[in-house]
């Protein structure tokens, strides 16, 4: 468990920016929950509420030119890596101003400019991709690193073991960040997963670290250690960030999933709100007043409202765009 003293390792500006991004994720996700219930969103969404400290702590340890791969529960990673909520919202609405011009949607938002090189609807699908960008960076003599985000469910996919193996023998600058939110879709992860996920690094000869995923500073420091090793050419790290998903696997699941999480368990984790915990530390450190905190919250809330307006005003892409972007040289579209 991180202590107040950990704040000594980050600057005040960094800390305030981290809190702001956590709040931005929370307000964005809460808005999506409402929009989904109102039938405003095509498709379906998986919300990151409760896990904000993982993405923000991890991405705050990166340079802008470092890379991440994200997951079906990816909005938090994208915001943490610098994605704009208005373009994300437009993508979620299927509009032309979305990051992918409406071709990706919630599960596939990417921005190569921002180093977001893959966001996957296939559980574990991004693990080889991030391992590959780390390979290319290493091969080309660059010092960029890649964080591969994935969930506890993906830790049972073969590509997780395969990728750790090759990253270890090739000493690739990749950081495997497993977000253990306790549930593999609708089943408790403990029923499906042998041992501790973090221990799976040991037989691969990779350092592993279990971190309180609700403690943004602890996440930041753990990932900083992993980034240092990766940039120094010392290879990959596995971090298991333990947290909890406040919302269901996907919004609307109550229509079919039934109750599968004890109320007491949900209440206990909501008591451990990572944003409240971090905000209070910043207040008690004298880095922020409660009024300033409220002001940040209000700003982020209004930027999310503005994002909805932006998305609603953005046009749908021309239907014939469906035939574009398959191949690099198909400027006229496929047949």
């Amino acid at each position: 468990m991180a202590t107040q003293k950990d704040l000594d390792h980050i600057t005040k500006d960094d800390a305030l920016d981290m809190l702001r991004r956590m709040i931005r994720i929370r307000r964005f996700e809460e808005k999506l929950s409402v929009l989904f219930k109102r039938g405003k969103l095509p498709g379906f969404v998986h919300l990151y509420t409760g896990e904000e400290a993982i993405a923000v702590g991890a991405c705050s340890a990166l340079r802008d030119d470092d890379r991440i791969t994200s997951t079906h529960r990816g909005h938090g990673h994208l915001i943490a890596k610098g994605a704009l909520v208005n373009r994300m919202m437009a993508e979620l609405f299927g509009r032309v101003d979305g990051y992918c011009r409406g071709k990706g949607g919630s599960m596939h938002i990417v921005s190569f400019e921002l180093g977001i090189i893959g966001t996957n609807g296939i559980v574990g699908g991004g693990i080889p991709i991030g391992t590959g960008s780390a390979w290319a960076d290493s091969h080309l003599g660059r010092d960029n690193v890649t964080i591969v985000f994935f969930g506890d469910g993906a830790s049972n996919q073969g590509v997780f073991f395969e990728s750790m193996n090759i990253a270890s023998v090739w000493k690739l600058p990749v950081i495997f960040v497993c977000e253990n939110n306790g549930y593999t879709e609708w089943t408790p992860t403990a029923e499906l997963t042998a041992g501790n996920i973090v221990d799976r690094s040991a037989p691969m000869g990779i350092p592993g670290e279990a971190v309180d995923g609700n403690d943004v500073v602890a996440m930041r420091l753990a990932v900083e250690r992993a980034v240092s090793r990766a940039r120094a050419g010392d290879g990959p790290t596995l971090i298991e960030a333990r947290s909890y998903r406040w919302n269901g696997h996907n919004e609307g699941e109550e229509a079919f999933a039934g109750a599968y999480r004890p109320d007491a368990e949900q209440a206990e984790w909501r008591e451990r709100d990572p944003i409240v915990a971090f905000g209070e530390r910043l207040v008690s450190a004298g880095w922020m007043t409660r009024d300033e905190w409220d002001a940040v919250d209000a700003e982020e809330l209004s930027s999310v409202d503005a994002a909805v307006e932006f998305a609603e005003q953005s046009p749908f892409p021309d239907a014939d765009e469906a035939l574009l972007h398959l191949f690099a040289d198909d400027s006229e579209g496929v047949r």
Binding site: F112, G125, I127, I129, E162, I166, L324, F327
Partner: protein
């Protein structure tokens, strides 16, 4: 387009032609890397000797983790490498299917065209004589259906080299099939580097009575049959698409315009084969050109069995092609 502007009549093996293409690309662009299982030794041969010239980082052995190294190429290509992967055996694509079909083929499209993914996945494939069901597959038909993969299947050493050059220079994922049985065939190949554009087919033999579209290892069979039938007064035109995605339908339709009859020979299972797709497209676009119902020649819809007489029963034979030609002429 047999534009064989050769300076010599040098004849080399198909597998050597592939290797020359790879060597040329490794020399031309330092971002080209070749990876795969045992690419250093290269039991099948396309990468043999390259590690001596380009070193173990550019010709790099991978663990037997097809899904992962197929997917790693997506991330690597997205940030500047031009990976070339030796999958070794066609069936091994199945091990990596998510990374090939859901990742490599879709990332550019799903991102709204933000990224180009220059990757080549090549493999030996097809029946080679009692290799049994898991080492005899030709998975090109199902990959044609994926959308987002270009697919190359050369039939001659000349095409093998020129198409390898184009595949590596292409800014998209390209799957390159080397039919196992063609690896040891010989043909005239210029020493200099040249390219054959993707999507351009080639008339391998001119004829007037029937168009036989043949793919990969079916091409030499069709040519052999054509020679025999010539003696019976039947003039067979053999069209080799060379690339299955994109497919040169203009060339196929142009040939059918002249002959009015179509047989398609595909070294793959019949159902949803490339032959099925070609016949369907020609029928849709050129129904009025056809003087008779087109015929497909492909494998029975079973896995390729081990025992020689069983395998022979399943895969395409010269007599199957003869029967199909007789049928469209009847």
């Amino acid at each position: 387009m047999n534009a064989q502007s050769t300076t010599t009549d040098r004849s080399i093996y198909f597998i050597e032609a592939m290797r020359e293409g790879l060597r040329g690309m490794l020399t031309e662009d330092e971002n080209v890397v070749v990876i795969g299982e045992d690419v250093g030794r290269s039991v099948i041969g396309a990468t043999r000797g390259l590690v001596e010239d380009f070193g173990p980082m550019r010709v790099r052995n991978t663990p037997i983790s097809e899904a992962t190294f197929v997917g790693m190429c997506v991330g690597a290509a997205a940030v500047g490498l031009r990976p070339v992967v030796d999958l070794m055996v066609g069936s091994f694509f199945y091990v990596a299917m998510d990374q090939l079909a859901d990742q490599a083929a879709k990332l550019r499209y799903m991102s709204g065209g933000q990224v180009s993914l220059p990757i080549v996945y090549f493999t030996a494939s097809g029946p080679s004589g009692s290799a049994a069901a898991q080492h005899s597959e030709n998975p090109h038909p199902m990959l044609m259906n994926v959308a987002g993969l270009k697919i190359v299947m050369p039939s001659t050493p000349y095409d093998a080299k020129g198409l390898m050059v184009s595949a590596v220079r292409d800014n998209n994922p390209v799957v390159y099939f080397q039919d196992f049985v063609l690896g040891g065939t010989r043909g005239v190949v210029p020493e200099e580097l040249y390219s054959i554009p993707l999507g351009v087919g080639d008339i391998k033999r001119h004829g007037t009575d029937v168009t036989v579209v043949a793919i990969g290892a079916a091409v030499p069979k069709a040519l052999r049959v054509a020679e025999v039938m010539e003696k019976d007064g039947v003039s067979v035109e053999v069209v080799d698409p060379r690339t299955l995605v994109p497919m040169d339908y203009d060339l196929i339709l142009e040939s059918v315009t002249r002959t009015g009859r179509l047989v398609v020979v595909d070294n793959a299972r019949l159902t949803c084969s490339a032959a099925s797709e070609i016949v369907a497209t020609v029928t849709e676009r050129g129904f009025d050109l056809l003087k008779s119902a087109p015929q497909r020649v492909a494998w029975a819809d079973v896995p390729v069995p081990f025992s020689p007489p069983l395998e022979e029963r399943v895969v395409i034979s010269d007599s199957d092609i003869v029967s199909a030609i007789r049928a469209v002429l009847a």
